[in-house]
Amino acid sequence: MPTNALTIKALRKTYRNGTQALCGVDLDVKEGDFFALLGPNGAGKSTTIGIISSLVNKTSGSVQVFGHDLDTESATVRSLIGLVPQEYNFNIFEPVGEILINQAGFYGISRHEASQRAEKYLRKLELWDKRFDMAKELSGGMKRRLMIARALVHEPKLLILDEPTAGVDIEIRHSMWEFMREINANGTTIILTTHYLEEAESLCNNIAIINKGVTIEHTSMRTLLDRLHIETFILYLEEGISELPVCGDYQLRLIDGNTIEADIAHSRSLNELYQMLSDCNIKVLSMRNKTNRLEQLFVSMMRNGNADNYRGGRA
C-alpha cells in the first residue's frame, strides 16, 4: 500500500478569540501527488497549512506526514516539509544568498553544502545575479521566487505552496508552473493553494475544497470536472455571418459577426457541431472554453452550500 504524504483526520482549530477556523478537516495526499487545496477566503486553508507546518497549534485532530505523527515526531515532520507561505516572511534586510544559507543551517546543513544548494536553487529560479542584494530590493515576483528557493534548500519531500503565484506576471507564472511540474516529476509531493483556478486545473491531479472549516470535496480533478454536464465554448469564425445557422439542438448565440458561443453537453461530440457548421459553409478558425471549468464548478459549489455536497469520494 503506498504511503500517504499527508494524512489529516478531524482537524480542528479554535483561536484564542473564539474564532473556529477548522471544524473537522480530513485530507489524504498521496506520495508524489500534485494536490490542490482550494477554498474561498477565510475557509481555513492557511490555518490548515499553518498547522501542518507547525506555525499554528491545533486544537484537536491528527496530522501525519509520511507516516510520522506531528504530535510525537514533530522534528521529523518539520524536516520533511518545505513551505512557501502566502505572505513574505523573510528578513528584508538580509542578502538573498544569506537567507538561503541560513535556512539550510536551521536544518543542520553545513555552510559548504548550503552554499552549493543556494547556488543551485537561486540559478533555477533566476535569482543568482541578486544573491548579494538585500531582499527588500527585489521585485514582488522575485520575492515569491526567493521564498520558493528557500523552501527547497533543505530538499523537502512535501512542498506546500500557499498562493505562490499571487501578484506574479503571466510570463513568470508560467515559468514557475514549469518549475513546479519539474519538482513534482522529480518526486516531491506538492500541495498547492491558489485563487487562480486555471492554475490548479492545469497542474494538479487531485483536489480538496475546504469551506467554513470543513472539507466539502475531496476527489480527483478528472472526477470533479466530469461533474460539469455542459461546457460553453467560444468559436471564432473565418468569415463573418449575420444570422445564426440552425444546428440541431445545439444552443448557439451570436456574439458578433465572427464569434459564436455554443453550449455543448458532455455527451455530445464537437465534431458533430463542426460538421453542421461546415454544411452551412461556416469555417471555424479557433475555439476556447468560455470560462475556466474548475472555476465554474467551484463557484456553483460555493453557491449551493457546503458540507452537504461532500460525497466523501477519495482520489
Partner: protein, 257 residues
C-alpha cells in the same frame, strides 16, 4: 537532529545575530562608547573631583565597573529584544519555527547574539574607560564570569520581553521603566553604605546591585555584597529565566497562534 546538526544550527543563528549588530555598528557599538565617555567627563572629572574617594578609590575609578556593566546589561537586552521582536514583526521567525530546530537551540542562539553584543560593547567601553582611569584587574576570573553571566541573564530577559511584546512600544517599556531605574539604583555611582539603613535594605532587593558589586569586586577588589552570594543570585536568575523562556517557546507563547 543529531548533535552535529544542532551545532550547525546554533552556529547559524549566532553568526546571523553577530552580523546583524555589526552591520549597524554606528547604532549599536558607538553610542554606548559616547555615553560612557560623557559619564566619565561629567560625573567622573567634573563632579567626581568634588566627591572624594570611595572605598579607597578615586570616584572616577569607582564608577568604572558600574558603567561598563551598565553598557553590557542594556546592550545584551536591547540586542535580543529588538532582534527577536523584529523577527516576529517581519515573520522571519517562521523560518526557524518550521525547521526541526529544537527550541533550546533557538534560545541559545539568540542569547549568544546578545552576549556577543554585550561583550563587544563591554570591551569597547572598557577601552574608553582606560582614557579616564588606570584601574588594574583584581580578579580576572570573577570579572569575566560576571561579565558573561550578566550578559546571558539580560539576553534571556530580552527574549522573554520580545516574545510577549505586541508592538514596538512594548519592547521599550521594560528597559525604560524597569531596567534603567534598577541599573541606576544598583550602585553604579555610589556605595550603598552611603545610604540610610532603610534604603540599604531596600537596595538589597535589587538584583542588579549584586551584579555591579560582583563586577566591581572583580575589577577593583571592593564590594558592598558578598561575591559568592552575588554569583549564586546571578546563576539562579539565569536558570529561572532560561527555564521560563524555554517553556514559553515550547508552548508557542508569543510566536504561534
Amino acid at each position: 537532529m543529531n548533535f552535529s546538526q544542532q551545532l550547525i544550527a546554533f552556529n547559524t543563528i549566532m553568526v546571523r545575530e553577530f552580523l546583524r549588530f555589526i552591520r549597524i555598528w554606528i547604532q549599536t557599538i558607538i553610542p554606548p562608547a559616547i555615553t560612557v565617555a560623557l559619564y566619565f567627563i561629567i560625573f567622573g572629572q567634573l563632579i567626581g573631583s568634588q566627591i572624594g574617594d570611595i572605598d579607597g578609590y578615586r570616584y572616577m575609578d569607582y564608577i568604572v565597573p558600574g558603567l561598563i556593566l551598565m553598557a553590557v546589561i542594556t546592550n545584551s537586552y536591547a540586542n535580543v529584544v529588538s532582534s527577536f521582536f523584529s523577527a516576529k514583526f517581519h515573520k522571519s521567525i517562521e523560518e526557524m519555527i518550521i525547521s526541526p530546530l529544537p527550541n533550546y537551540i533557538i534560545l541559545a542562539g539568540y542569547i549568544s547574539g546578545g552576549v556577543a553584543r554585550g561583550v563587544t560593547v563591554g570591551i569597547t567601553v572598557t577601552g574608553v574607560s582606560m582614557f579616564f582611569s588606570d584601574f588594574q584587574i583584581h580578579s580576572l576570573g570573577i570579572t569575566l564570569a560576571v561579565f558573561v553571566l550578566t550578559s546571558i541573564l539580560f539576553s534571556t530577559a530580552g527574549l522573554i520581553n520580545a516574545a510577549y511584546a505586541r508592538s514596538f512600544d512594548d519592547i521599550t517599556i521594560i528597559p525604560t521603566f524597569v531596567l534603567t531605574p534598577l541599573t541606576y539604583l544598583g550602585g553604579i555611582f555610589y556605595s550603598i553604605k552611603m545610604l540610610p539603613e532603610f534604603w540599604q535594605t531596600v537596595s538589597q532587593g535589587n538584583p542588579i546591585l549584586y551584579m555591579i558589586n560582583a563586577f566591581r569586586y572583580g575589577l577593583l577588589g571592593v564590594s558592598d555584597i558578598n561575591v559568592t552570594t552575588a554569583l549564586i543570585i546571578i546563576i539562579a536568575f539565569i536558570v529561572i529565566l532560561f527555564s521560563f523562556a524555554l517553556r514559553m517557546l515550547n508552548r508557542g507563547i508569543g510566536i504561534k497562534p
